[in-house]
Symmetry: C2
Subunit: 127 residues, 2 copies
DNA sequence: CTTGCCTCTGACGTCAATGTCAGGTTTTAG
DNA sequence: CTAAAACCTGACATTGACGTCAGAGGCAAG
């Protein structure tokens, strides 16, 4: 498939796909006229890249992880495993942080609801 | 305390504190010479703002939430509650996304470890 | 063949939070 | 008193993942 279809199927923009290639996260086979062609597998790959981005990883970090995903071989296996473990930990920490923030928000909402109910109207069952 | 101490205590840069004020997230009492002065409470506030930022909220969104935090009153209570619920949901979705990504990373690491152990050395107890 | 859509490269624009610098005032320590 | 350190405003720089546009070429349908 060509880049438009890939982008649509993966749910990203055409611009992003080109950007991923520029960053070395994705490769393409070029037709004689220079157009990029992809296989079905690339759809998943692009989607996965997106998820890593939205997990807060940078292009550089993703570029360091993907080779391990592609071909687990001796050369990068150890380094990549460490890198992945490290990013996994960062991710875990971030998740914990978000959960704490969500808890804080929950408490704030409870407070606000209580206040509202006490002052402005009868209590309602919460959600 | 002055801005330097506040920033240090809250773990952010002086620049950021000024920026928060510029965005209406924080207020300060000015001394005669124009220097900002803060109370201990502001330290927590700044730290909380930081957490909202790192949770992916924008200045604008934070600005919409903080008034509710400060003084739950009729005027913004309903709207702010909705806003908070909405952001809470966004946050939850994001957390779920991150957890899924972490799971994927875990699986990748398992695969890599298996590969390594099968090909290059005797199995070791995992972690 | 032509019309319309897709693609190409390359470059500049954007946005948000923050860094950084300049040029000047204020506060603090010795 | 004086030098260092901290603060002020204002403005421009940066970073990263894109958006967007220009100008040119590719490709299927009628």
């Amino acid at each position: 498939m060509r880049i438009g279809e890939l982008a649509a199927r993966a749910g990203v923009s055409v611009r992003s796909v080109r950007y991923y290639e520029e960053q070395g996260l994705l490769s393409s086979v070029r037709s004689g006229s220079g157009q990029r062609h992809y296989t079905d597998e690339e759809v998943e790959r692009v989607a996965f890249i997106q998820r890593l981005y939205s997990a807060g990883l940078s292009s550089r970090t993703i570029a360091e992880l993907l080779p391990c995903v592609d071909s687990p071989s001796e050369e990068h296996s150890e380094a990549a495993l460490e890198r992945m473990a490290q990013e996994r930990d960062r991710l875990s920490a971030h998740i914990d942080d978000l959960v704490r923030t969500r808890d804080t928000l929950d408490k704030l909402m409870d407070t606000a609801r209580e206040y509202r109910d006490r002052h402005f109207r009868a209590p309602v069952p919460q959600d």
